[in-house]
Symmetry: C2
């Protein structure tokens, strides 16, 4: 049995980056940039009016002569003499000879004559070429998480596709004779299987779709075959159940038979003690406890950071936040406790039911409190660390 | 021009819930429950062993006679007399006559004889029927956001499908002669169009896929037709650009021609002042400013809460958090400012560039600071409200 910090360290040491791949911008939401990005253009690419108004050459004149107009998107340069003005719109190209844009609210029109009510300082309301970024600038760095703003920014610079780290292909194996699929009648002694869909949805949340799911009973041959199949097609395999010391827990043997090397088995924590982690080459395998709550706890604590690292996220470890505890916590176990709680306005309230055999509390909590192994009791008012689970 | 609080209130008043629909559990991630859910079964459905060990009738005996074993998933009851024990595994059905499970670590075996090292109290290691939930219990309430844990919990109760609020169908209209698609060469006076993909990805983040996108130049007839088409197929229409007072901004007229009623136009804020909001029956329309930064600001401040409300989320308004400001902010504008910033460990640092014509700062910020209209200056050390934008 190892401690939580070592489990995290060993997983980290055995988890590498996915391969680089070019993908269309529309398909990279939630991916991570695999290379530094330099802009292939100036932004703005031409002198741009930032307002609706009139472009002209600055002077003390009180009137200008209207000689045309420039719509946004118009390519042609509009020639302009001293004393001339052109109507111009936000985003439009400022004529080469103009040096100032006056907003329409500071003018009045008398047919072809533009009356200046209040002349701004020279250069006003013109965005210079390259004001925001200049050709060749480093605009986004390798490791950048691609959210809506980053993708929009790259689209604005004309990118159609971009190098990203390929997200891992994930396989899920669910084991257990007692498991029935929802929708089918439950025989005596059976329960409905829920770990596969829970893990599948947790993966979906991190942007990983198209997960392969295999289900086997407590049967060694079947388990060996299923592990082999999943290893062939996956970078990361999650196994649910079959990993404890029961006589019908075949997962360890099946992993061994498939050449998966054990890195560790059992962590000094509650819930989630019988966590197993191993590797086959660059592929990593988590065998998670079968109890739904323990399984999801291990997912958040260990699989989440590994997934982020595989995908190229720079700060891939869970961010531990701090809240003020509102309840008493006893820890006579000498283990790290991961406790379901709600955190609101920095106050942490423990959920009433912590049992790991169902997801009832997990369905309504938004935080996993972390109680260190060496702390026997924590009281209201004390600061406690937690992993945030909620979504915006 | 109205104030931010009124804009939020008016949008709220005109935004309703989507229709109820039954969907398969695998398809409801990010959806919201449309009805209270009562469990159709007890959980556990039978007396379940919570450990690997031996089931028996509690007594002072130091030895028991082994009469069989119960695997997880076995349906048949195993008959048991006083003095008998059966091998049992985690999750397996405890024989009807047994009242206690002793963990295997507290026993030793001598062929058919089980030696008791340490007898637990009667009833130990057995989960009673309905311990977690009882047939007919209200287990999740209408309005519950369906994350991985909620979906797994429902699967564990045997649900295959569940009533949810149908997410809105969204249409996006992008207007502007100056806009070119990424990948094509940029003519003089043109810029690359990025608002459609930015909004599409922001929608994807909230779980809305399959958005319809239309693009038109600055042309009234085209704009009227595109608005008509989008209104026919969408519950929510987002329009980018064409809403200011320029002579070539045809969006307002096109909305009017399509029977969209204006609720408000212009909000006392920076950026994002020329925001327009209207309705056609139950459909709602946001005409967002064309500047990418202003557009995304309005999306986060106004469209985000509306989307949550349309989807049935109970606390749909943006949660305003508080951080300690690290920089000075001047607000000579008498407007509410929405400022891009990074918040880390409760410290808010303003991004250097706040210009709204590009998404450079948005691509790396994780918070939108809110400066009230009546506050002219804020200084380091002051508390400032913000909307969090980052992801777990």
């Amino acid at each position: 049995m190892i401690v939580v910090a070592d489990a995290l360290k060993f997983i980290d040491e055995h988890t590498g980056l996915g391969p680089k791949i070019k993908k269309s911008l529309a398909d990279v939401y939630g991916h991570v940039l695999a290379e530094n990005v330099f802009t292939p253009m100036n932004m703005p690419p031409f002198r741009q009016s930032s307002m609706d108004g009139y472009a002209l050459r600055w002077s003390d004149n009180k009137t200008y002569k209207m000689v045309g107009e420039v719509q946004a998107g118009a390519a042609k340069n509009t020639a302009l003499q001293h004393g001339d003005a052109v109507r111009i719109f936000t985003g439009a190209r400022v004529p080469d000879e103009a040096d100032t844009v006056i907003i329409q609210e500071h003018t009045s029109r008398d047919e072809d004559v533009l009356n200046i009510d209040k002349m701004p300082v020279m250069g006003s309301n013109i965005r210079p070429v390259g004001e925001q970024v200049q050709l060749g600038d480093l605009v986004l760095e390798e490791g950048k998480f691609l959210n809506e703003a980053a993708i929009g920014f790259l689209a604005g610079l004309g990118f159609e596709e971009i190098p990203v780290y390929e997200p891992p292909k994930v396989g899920i194996l669910v084991t257990g004779n007692e498991l029935q699929q929802p929708g089918k009648p439950l025989e005596e002694g059976q329960i409905y299987e829920s770990n596969a869909i829970t893990l599948q949805m947790a993966l979906k949340r991190t942007g990983i779709n198209g997960v392969t799911i295999e289900r086997v009973g407590d049967d060694l041959k079947e388990t060996i075959k299923a592990v082999e199949k999943l290893l062939k097609n996956s970078d990361l395999v999650l196994i649910s159940g079959g990993i404890s010391v029961g006589d019908y827990d075949y997962v360890q043997e099946a992993l061994q038979k498939n050449g998966v090397q054990e890195v560790f088995y059992k962590v000094n924590q509650k819930p989630g003690k019988p966590l197993w982690f191993g590797t086959q080459g660059k592929k990593i395998v988590f065998a998670l406890p079968g109890n739904p709550g323990s399984s999801l706890t291990c997912f958040y604590v260990y699989v989440w950071p590994a997934l982020r690292k595989l995908r190229g996220v720079k700060s891939y470890q869970n961010k531990e936040k701090t809240a003020t505890l509102q309840t008493t916590i006893k820890n006579p176990f000498g283990k790290v406790l991961f406790l379901k709680a709600t955190v609101s306005k920095n106050e942490a309230k423990l959920m009433g039911v912590q049992a790991s055999s169902m997801l009832k509390s997990f369905a309504t909590c938004n935080a996993l409190l972390i109680v260190p192994a060496e702390i026997e009791e924590m009281n209201p008012g004390e600061e406690i660390k937690y992993i945030a689970l909620d979504q915006l």
